[in-house]
Structures are given as structure tokens and as C-alpha cells.
């Protein structure tokens, strides 16, 4: 009965566009880019190597603007490696190399004339372990705007705004001049998110941002991510499937293939779809096995 009424209320809106729209989903594997409307970052046939070792192979993915996309999968499946290739953080690692194309708003971020520093300014990153600078809370936030020469009429306002958005302002407003190292792990991670927001990026990459935090701090970060989704595109790597199910609009499931001779594990994308679909009716058996806890 209830389903009927719901369906009825849905169809009654035939004379105007329904408020909720579920775009048609496609099976997309090996058919090139998945169909994500309004994609801000697109990966086409991306391979990432560390010297001769191929860590990630043949990834086609698209990340929707102002959506949260989760990358899940067992350890060693290359999800963090892929994440780092989205803002050229792999450049800092010796021997790391990216093949294929990664575009941000249609522009190839690995093009010769593209400046990696400019890429990272637009695509910020929050790391697995909170990594505040050994500076005051204030200087941690002000660091980014200062180094990129942001024209801020009032740095104090900018710091306050970033800390407020990261739901940290009320906790730290009386100790802005104190060292960031005095904060708890969860606060440090929110500080790192605030620091990222302060440079006003378009995309925030999060590499297992809650893996070193307790459940309460984790849930605060998740709430925060949900609020940030209003203005930012978020791509999060997580080991925690519930977390992906809770926060993500879309989820990409990766798995690792072990090479027979060397035992090296190469990551590959198995399935990418709306989170609901991935968790409720995955198309691939491997996804279902992982989701239901049969391996991984």
C-alpha cells in the first residue's frame, strides 16, 4: 500500500519535473567512461606505475561535481595510488608514473604545460594520518592562502570561515595561537580539512581520513563531509564499507590481481555505480563477495 501511494505521488508530478531524478544507469565496464552527469574529473584508461611495477591498471572513472565518490576495496588494490594520481601527488614519489588521461574540467592534468602546483591548488587533499604543521592553529589555516598568494582582505575572517566550515571554530576559537599539536586526533583531522578548505579548492581528495580516529570523531568527519558536499566535490578512499554506504553518492569497487610470477598486486576497477546499487544489487560477483564480507 505504502509503495503504491509513494509511486502515485511520484507519478502525479507528471505535469512538472519530479524533484528527484534517477538517471538511467548503465553497465559501463570496458565501454569507456561511465555515465556520470556533470563530471568534474575523468580518468580514461589510467595506469599507474612505480618504476616497472604496475600498481593500477586500466581505470575508467568519472567523478561527479558536488558529489561524494567512495573508492573501496581490499588492501593493495591501488585505490590510494589512484587517488594520489588525481592531483599529481604521485609526482613527489620517485619512480611513480601515470599513463592514460586524467582530466579536470576537461583539461588533461598531466599535460606538459600544466603546473602540478596549480592542479593541487584546485584539487586539495586530506591524508590518512592527520598531518598539521608544527605551527599554531591559526598559521596552519593561513599557510595555504599565504603560499598561493591569495588576495585575502582579512586573513582573520578567512581563518574563521575555514574553521567554521570544518566545524572546529567553537572548539579552537580561544586558542588560535596555540600549537596545532595540542589538538586531539579528530580535531587535527578537521583542522587539516579546514586548511584544505581555506585555499578554496574545487575538489577534496580524502585518503582514509578516519582510519586513525575513534568512532565519535569519525562520525563528526562524516557529518562534515556531508555538509561540504554542498560546495565541494569529495573523493574518499575508505576501508570502511559502512562509511562508503553512509556518505557516498557513488562507489567504485577495486580489487587486486596478484601476478603469478612476482606476486605483485595490481589494482583494477571492478564496478562503479550509485552507492545504493553497489551495496544492494552489485552487478559483479566479486563486488558482492567483498560487500558481504566473503573476502577482503
Amino acid at each position: 500500500m505504502t509503495t503504491n501511494t509513494r509511486a502515485a505521488s511520484y507519478t502525479t508530478g507528471s505535469n512538472h519535473t519530479p524533484t528527484i531524478q534517477f538517471p538511467a544507469e548503465h553497465a559501463h565496464r570496458s565501454n569507456g567512461l561511465p555515465d556520470v552527469p556533470n563530471a568534474i574529473i575523468e580518468c580514461t584508461n589510467v595506469n599507474v606505475y612505480y618504476n616497472d611495477f604496475r600498481a593500477v591498471t586500466g581505470v575508467d572513472l568519472a567523478f561527479g561535481s558536488k558529489e561524494i565518490t567512495a573508492l573501496i576495496g581490499p588492501s593493495g588494490c591501488g585505490k590510494s595510488t589512484l587517488l594520489r594520481s588525481l592531483n599529481r601527488m604521485n609526482d613527489l614519489i620517485d619512480g611513480a608514473r601515470v599513463e592514460g588521461t586524467v582530466t579536470f574540467q576537461g583539461e588533461d592534468i598531466y599535460h606538459k604545460e600544466v603546473d602540478a602546483i596549480e592542479v593541487r591548488r584546485r584539487i586539495g587533499m586530506v591524508f590518512q594520518k592527520p598531518n598539521p604543521f608544527p605551527k599554531s592553529i591559526y598559521d596552519n589555516i593561513a599557510y595555504g592562502p599565504r603560499v598561493i598568494g591569495m588576495k585575502a582582505s582579512n586573513m582573520d575572517d578567512l581563518v574563521e570561515e575555514a574553521l567554521t566550515r570544518a566545524a572546529l571554530w567553537t572548539e579552537v576559537k580561544d586558542k588560535l595561537k596555540q600549537s596545532a599539536f595540542g589538538l586531539s586526533g579528530g580535531q587535527q583531522q578537521r583542522l587539516c580539512i579546514a586548511r584544505t578548505i581555506a585555499v578554496k579548492p574545487d575538489v577534496i581528495l580524502m585518503d582514509e581520513p578516519c582510519s586513525s580516529l575513534d568512532p565519535i570523531a569519525t562520525s563528526r568527519i562524516e557529518d562534515l563531509m556531508y555538509e561540504l558536499r554542498e560546495d565541494y566535490t569529495i573523493i574518499i578512499v575508505t576501508h570502511n564499507m559502512q562509511q562508503a554506504a553512509r556518505v557516498a553518492d557513488r562507489t567504485a569497487f577495486f580489487t587486486a590481481l596478484a601476478s603469478e610470477e612476482s606476486g605483485d598486486r595490481t589494482g583494477l576497477l571492478v564496478e562503479f555505480d550509485r552507492t545504493k546499487k553497489i551495496f544492494e544489487s552489485p552487478a559483479d560477483q566479486r563486488t558482492e563477495d567483498y560487500i558481504s564480507g566473503r573476502f577482503g
Partner: protein, 317 residues
Amino acid sequence: MSTLTPVGGPALVPGRPAVSLRSTRPRHGEAFMRLLLRFAAIVTIIITAGILIALLVPSVEFFRTVSVFEFLFGDRWAPRFADASFGVWPLVTATAWTSGIALLVAIPLGLGAAVFLSEYARPGLRKVLKPVLEILAGIPTVVFGLFALQFVQATLFRDWFDLDTGAFSVLAAGLVMGVMIVPTIASISEDAMSAVPLSMRQGSAALGANRMQTTVRVVFPAALSGIIAAIVLGVSRAVGETMIVAIAAGGQARIVTGPLEQGQTMTGFIANAALGDSRVGSLEYDTLFAVGLLLFLVTLLFNFISIRFVRRFREIY
């Protein structure tokens, strides 16, 4: 039917504690080690105190004859002349010139090398360059002294550049001494910078900072205590370095007013006079110790200043 037999665990005997917590055998080795280490620590302190006393006793004798004021502010140093004069100022100016020139060379070069090795060089290059740098630190200073005298002063300054200078100059001694100190500053500050966690550099890069900004604003402040320690060690080596200045700076104690002049440093004077025939207990003999004490106090002062500086500005990670 079957009785319950406890598996594992101590057998319980009534009236006795279940387990003994007393050690089963004496640990003589550990007691001996502790004694040995304590001995090493105490000997170090005793020797340091002994050196200080050996320095102080003749110095006190010296200052009974010569007033501290005359010693510190007199501008004529002639302890061996008939009309002896004990103004240490000429020696201080020579030391200031040689050390100052040395540090002007060593601090920028040393820190530059450290930044390159720690932040810019690929790991393979670093593996080659760092040992090479440390070999430079192992060259005996007398070799540097000869190099300063024969090549820098005689060939470079006088023959090639045709500079108006004599057989010795504080510039030649200072420049070569600077080169000698580079590896000390580079190696220690490179260690300090490499110890800064990679995650901080990544955090900085992810905010759109370039390598130089990351180095100057994140790595440098975090490694400050190590960098300052390196510089202070450099200062101590410059002020205390003897062989190079004894060979290349000159032997006449006169107030030095320019880099191309010759001058006798505090260490240079001690080295020269100690080789002479000053009788134990004579005023000339005590003079050596008074100069030595001054040298010691100058180094100590630098250490104190640097500790205060580091406490004030260090960013602890």
C-alpha cells in the same frame, strides 16, 4: 567420573604463594654495565671540570698582575716585549675577521648544500654526495692551512688577482676555514631536515605550495634546532680553529681593519706562544691561559644564545 585436572598454570600448594616473584638468578652483568656507564658519565664531567680548573688557576694568577679592564680593552698586545702590554683587542679583531669570513662562506654554502641534498636531490645522488661531503670534513686542518697559504694567498690573491697583500691575510685564512666548515654545517643540518616527516611536505604540497615554499616555511622551522646546532658547531669550530690561522693568517698581533691585512688570532697566539720557552708560572705562561679562558667564554656565550634562540623559534613536531 573424570576429575578435573587443571591444565597449565602453577600448582597450588597450600600455605605457599602460587608463584615466586623473586629473581631466580642474580644479574651481575647488568649491575656491572650500569656501573661502567655511570663511571663513563662521571669521568666525562670530572675531566671537563679539570680542564676548567686548569684554565682558571693560571688565569687568576694573570689577572692579579693585569687588570681585567686592561686585558679586555687594551689595544696593544705585546706580552713578550720589555715594556709588556696585555690588551687582547688585537687578537679578538683577528679572530672576529677570520671567523666572520669563514661563516659568511660556510653558512650559505652549508645550508644550501643541505637543502639541496634533503629536498631536491634524488635519493641516488644523495647517496653519493653525502659521503663525499663528509670526506671533506676528514681532511686534516694543516692541509687546509697550507692550501690557504700557498695557493689562496700566494698564487690566487697575489699572482692572479694582483691584490695588495703580504705573505698572510685574514681573508685567505677565513675563506679556506669556511670551506673546511661547510661539511659540518651541511651534514648536521641535512640530518635535521631529512628527519622532518614526509607527511608535512605532502601536506604543504597538497595546498599548492612549491618546493621552496615548503622548504622555507615548513621544513626549516621544523628542523630549526638541528640547523642552529649545526651553525653553532660551525661558529665554535671557526673561533677555535688553530692550524689554518696559525699558518695563513699571520703572526703579528695588530688590530685588523681590513680583510687583506695579516693578524694574529687568539688561537694563533696560543699555538705560537705554547711552542716557545715560557717558564711555568711566569706571567707570559699565565697569559696563555687567560686567552684560552676568553676563548672558552666566547664559545660558551654562543651556545647560550643559540639555546635561547632555538627555544624561542623552534616548531616542535
